[in-house]
Assembly symmetry: C2
Homo-oligomer: 233 residues x 2
């Protein structure tokens, strides 16, 4: 392919690609996994950031579950993290390779989603959403217990059994992204000690996070727009 025909191919792909519109709150916490999928698949999308205090009350009625994130695909709205991710995953090749693999992806993604729901007040507290005034110390204790007795052992066992560095099969799936999203909250808040007993989870995070998270996360002091990482060596 020369440059011209590559450009034509791109035009054609864009022509057939639906218009994706992602609604999230202005703090961008709720749709982080969806953004990872778009980033890995290199697919353009429109982002609508909503002010929790002003616009939300008006817009909430138009959202199918009354919550964010919401993904609009050619005008058709889907709400809820796992429904959005599953929809995008089959479009962009982030599902399991076989039906059997995909049911394990489903299982682990739902398991990680359950962790997000069960630890919601803790996550809000450490991300300081809604100026949470909860008792962080007792929430930390609960979260640490959940990670060390439930989340950690199950994921570590799956990583060991699978043995490819990914959670399921030999390729990246949206279950890997769900895991990175969860553990990113630990790494970002200085709580990576929660997973010190799980070396394979740590390794999984360190290998996948740089690919799926925004480059700024790993180069806080660099402005990625003016100084590409490749030029700094």
């Amino acid at each position: 392919l020369n440059e011209g025909s590559f450009f034509n191919l791109q035009m054609q792909l864009n022509f057939f690609l639906p218009h994706f519109k992602l609604y999230d709150f202005a703090d961008r916490h709720n749709a982080d996994i969806t953004r990872m999928i778009f980033r890995v698949a290199n697919i353009p999308y429109e982002e609508v950031l909503i002010d929790r205090n002003n616009e939300w009350q008006q817009l909430q009625r138009e959202m199918p579950l009354g919550t964010l994130p919401v993904l609009e695909i050619d005008g058709h709205k889907i709400g809820g993290t796992t429904a959005i991710c599953r929809q995008l995953a089959w479009r962009f090749g982030l599902s399991g390779e076989t039906a059997a693999d995909d049911s394990i992806v489903d299982m682990l993604a739902d398991f990680l989603h359950e962790a997000h729901i069960s630890l919601k007040s803790w996550i809000n507290a450490i991300q300081n959403v809604n100026n949470s005034e909860q008792d962080v110390e007792s929430l930390d204790k609960m979260a640490s217990h959940y990670v060390s007795t439930r989340l950690g052992p199950v994921l570590e066992k799956h990583l060991e059994k699978n043995g490819t560095g990914f959670l399921v099969g030999g390729k990246m799936t949206w279950a890997d992204l769900m895991a990175v999203s969860f553990f990113n909250k630990l790494f970002d808040s200085g709580r990576e000690g929660f997973i010190s007993a799980f070396p394979l989870i740590k390794q999984h995070y360190q290998q996948i996070a740089p690919i799926v998270l925004p480059p700024t996360k790993f180069n806080d002091k660099l402005n990625e727009d003016t100084l590409p990482i490749a030029l700094t060596a």
Copy 2:
């Protein structure tokens, strides 16, 4: 078809049908939605009921998420309610009719699953699992608030918009079964007042529950094995 060829057809179907083995605790609370799917699809399965106090500690290590329900399909184990239901739904025609419909099924099923997780301590308390000694009154208050402000309005709106009596499209999907499973807990414990403001949800439950729940639920005084309902008229 005469009786002989029907028998052969059945044999053939059984030959191609995988062997399904459903693991649940002896109180049978955890796999109720899975049982509904098998009942509606009229598919045979083996049930393994586990004693929470004796066998569980030993068996827990063999379960992929360390929890029940688990569905074993020809020796391959899947854990987690939504992953199990999604797998069976596409096998037995309980998914959405189109890709767009199916993403709404996913969305509502996950939304209902979230309700089950968020209200877990309340559900345990009213079902008296683990001899829960929680404060039922304050849990009831929380659950009633969740149903009237979150679950109820979203489902009522979807039922109104869809207008077929089902949650999505013109046929039964596993989202309907997730709803029946949740609201059955209200009806069974005398708390149907929680949904008095949502007439379409009540109608949905009353139309679908008799089809998907065991007949004994609706004919407590009849022994379904010795006295078929058809003979009592």
